[in-house]
């Protein structure tokens, strides 16, 4: 089209060929990044899983040793169950809270944007500042949590010292940030055309019927998205657990990634940590597939045409 340059002789001659080349040039940063930061590390992780290595002495091949020791490792099972409990509570509760409040916030009332802001802001507080703040809130003698309990006439709780209360405390911290999911629901709710509700109202549908037959089906893709993101995210909880309780008391908040971190960077057991990482990957993929199969089939997609 433009005049032939010398180097063009080496380029594909057909239009389709040229377009393919251009396309691959455009996505080449991703392809390179995928190779460098995903594929190569995945290979390294596979290699590490069958080796003993503390970064200093030469690595030693140990075969399936890490998998065997994982099976016998009480702390591994503890961390898996702590993380599962954390996920099973924080994800559904966060989902219901986020969706419920999004419904309430999706009304046209003066000053509603002030409410939206108040509910959303906690979710963007930096994790480290969040951890420092909540460590103070859960202070047994002077913390806000026990101030609130006292106001309700309840006895105070040693939140971060008692094994049975430490994990609930971390779940409360997670729930404070439910606003990130809430805005996603809100965007979904605002995408539902008013006509649907007006038609339903004419047909005599009550509030509950409208919620069940219009709202929930139409935002079900959003609920599904938040569920998946929530599960993946909560299996990776780390900063709060490390800074507020550091896994204690008595491993009550030893979340999975924290245990992996301790193995890799405190005990320098790189091989074992890599094996733990593979298990984390399999668990998250397994859960995601499970949710896709059993929840995904109930999701209503409007633009099926």
């Amino acid at each position: 089209m433009m005049g032939t340059h010398g180097f063009e002789r080496f380029l594909p001659r057909t239009l389709a060929g040229r377009r393919t080349l251009t396309g691959y040039i455009f996505i080449s940063p991703f392809i390179l990044g995928f190779l460098l930061w995903f594929l190569v590390p995945a290979g390294v992780a596979l290699w590490l899983t069958v080796h003993d290595w503390n970064l200093i002495a030469p690595p030693k091949y140990v075969g399936a040793k890490h998998l065997v020791s994982m099976w016998e490792d009480d702390r591994f099972w503890t961390s898996l169950s702590v993380t599962t409990t954390y996920t099973l509570v924080s994800v559904p509760v966060g989902l219901v809270l986020g969706f419920g409040l999004a419904l309430l916030l999706n009304t046209k009332i003066r000053g509603i944007s002030v409410f939206r802001t108040i509910y959303y802001l906690p979710s963007i507080v930096p994790a480290v500042a969040n951890a420092v703040l909540w460590a103070w809130i859960f202070n047994t003698e002077y913390g806000l949590a026990n101030v609130a309990l006292r106001a309700l006439g309840l006895p105070k709780i040693a939140w971060l010292q008692q094994p049975e209360w430490a994990l609930p405390a971390l779940i409360l911290v997670a729930l404070w940030g439910f606003g990130s999911g809430m805005v996603i629901y809100l965007a979904g709710l605002q995408g539902i055309p008013d006509v649907f509700y007006e038609a339903a109202e004419i047909d005599g549908a009550g509030r509950l019927a409208r919620l069940r037959h219009i709202t929930i089906p139409l935002v079900s893709p959003v609920i599904f998205f938040n569920l998946i993101i929530g599960i993946i995210g909560s299996f990776q909880v780390f900063t709060i657990a490390r800074l507020v309780t550091n896994g204690g008391p008595q491993n009550a908040t030893l979340v999975y990634v924290l245990y992996m971190y301790q193995n890799a960077f405190q005990n320098l057991k790189m091989g074992y940590a890599a094996a733990l990482a593979w298990v984390l990957f399999l668990v998250v993929v397994g859960l995601t597939l499970f949710v896709f199969k059993y929840v995904g089939s109930r999701v209503h997609y409007e633009d099926a045409h």
Binding site: M2, R19, T22, G23, Y24, F26, I27, F30, L32, G33, W37, P41, A42, G43, A45, L101, L104, L105, I109, T117, I118, Y119, L121, P122, I124, P126, A127, V128, A129, A131, V132, L133, W136, E141, Y142, L144, V147, V183, L186, A187, G188, Q190, G191, L218, V222, I228, F235, Q236, F238, V257, M260, Y261, M270, A273, A277, L280, F281, V284, V285, T288
Partner: protein, 297 residues
């Protein structure tokens, strides 16, 4: 909806059923506002507590029940906290990382996103599926092998591990976001460019990118937040105090000052403040990102 209500209230005196509807609406509104208010108090209390504690002298911190108005009011906490550790330097370090990340992600993710959105070529769908797949891979799965790689590269105690990887695609979610945005722009613009003799790169750079300000702003905001909030990256890779970011500085400050709650609260407030300011100045982009990604509805 507002219009509907006006009609309803103007007819209220004449038609009894409508009158009931109005009453029911008012009751619902009242209930909603009541629930929202209680919830808002619960959500806001930790913030209030943080700010109140940050202005108290230490001896007033350890009082039960607590006082809600700091007396004496002590803004010196902020000065003491922020000079105890070189937070000015930490801020400078964080900003350098932020700027590099912004350059990397805005260029790289939009470039890839353009390829996925507007050029048809064999294999595109496969690679795009891979983009979505990497979205699902937890960061921590690759933490250990990436650490070993970066150690081999000699990148420990430099900003490289926190910046260079972003030049390669800039993150799956950002690619996805740009792709969605570019797909929403009319093809006629690109055709006009082609007629004028623009290459595909020229169309991307001179036509599409200048039209992508909403997408650029959204990605920029989330890039800033991610870098400002990041704890695990600096924890793994930054060793010397003079390389620390604000997040890691606050974490070390906390381990040194474990009982000086008034100073800890001051430092934490100072770290949260920019995030809140950003939210108030760029509010709409926080939600635009979600709408762009096609999640809406």
């Amino acid at each position: 909806m507002a219009q509907k209500q006006r009609v309803a209230s103007s007819g209220a005196g004449f038609r009894p059923p409508l009158h009931r509807v109005v009453w029911e609406r008012r009751l619902w509104r009242f209930l909603i506002v009541a629930i929202l208010s209680i919830g808002a108090v619960v959500m806001a209390l930790p913030f209030v507590w943080l700010v109140v504690s940050s202005f108290k002298p230490l001896e007033k911190i350890f009082i039960f029940p607590p006082e809600w108005i700091p007396d004496p009011f002590r803004p010196e906490n902020y000065v003491e906290a922020l000079v105890y550790k070189p937070f000015g330097l930490y801020l400078w370090n964080t900003l350098r990382i932020v700027v590099l990340n912004l350059a990397a992600i805005l260029l790289s993710a939009s470039f890839c996103g353009y390829g996925f959105a507007r050029i048809r070529f064999p294999g595109r769908d496969f690679w795009f599926a891979l983009v979505l797949a990497t979205l699902m891979i937890p960061y921590f799965v690759l933490m250990v092998p990436q650490f070993i790689m970066f150690t081999r590269f000699g990148w420990i105690d430099t900003f490289h591990p926190l910046t260079i990887p972003f030049f390669f695609g800039g993150g799956a979610f950002n690619i996805f976001l740009f792709r969605q945005f570019f797909r929403s722009l009319p093809e006629e613009l690109a055709d006009a460019g082609r007629i004028d003799g623009c290459t595909e790169y020229g169309i991307y750079w001179r036509i599409m990118l200048p039209l992508s300000k909403p997408a650029l702003a959204t990605v920029a905001i989330f890039t800033f937040l991610a870098a400002w909030n990041d704890y695990i990256g600096p924890l793994l890779y930054l060793r010397s105090d003079y390389n620390f970011t604000v997040a890691i500085g606050l974490a070390t400050f906390r381990s040194v000052m474990s009982t000086q709650w008034h100073l800890l609260m001051a430092a934490s407030s100072a770290m949260i403040l920019p995030v809140i300011l950003l939210f108030f100045f760029a509010q709409r982009y926080f939600v635009d990102g979600l709408v762009l990604s096609g999640l809406k509805g």
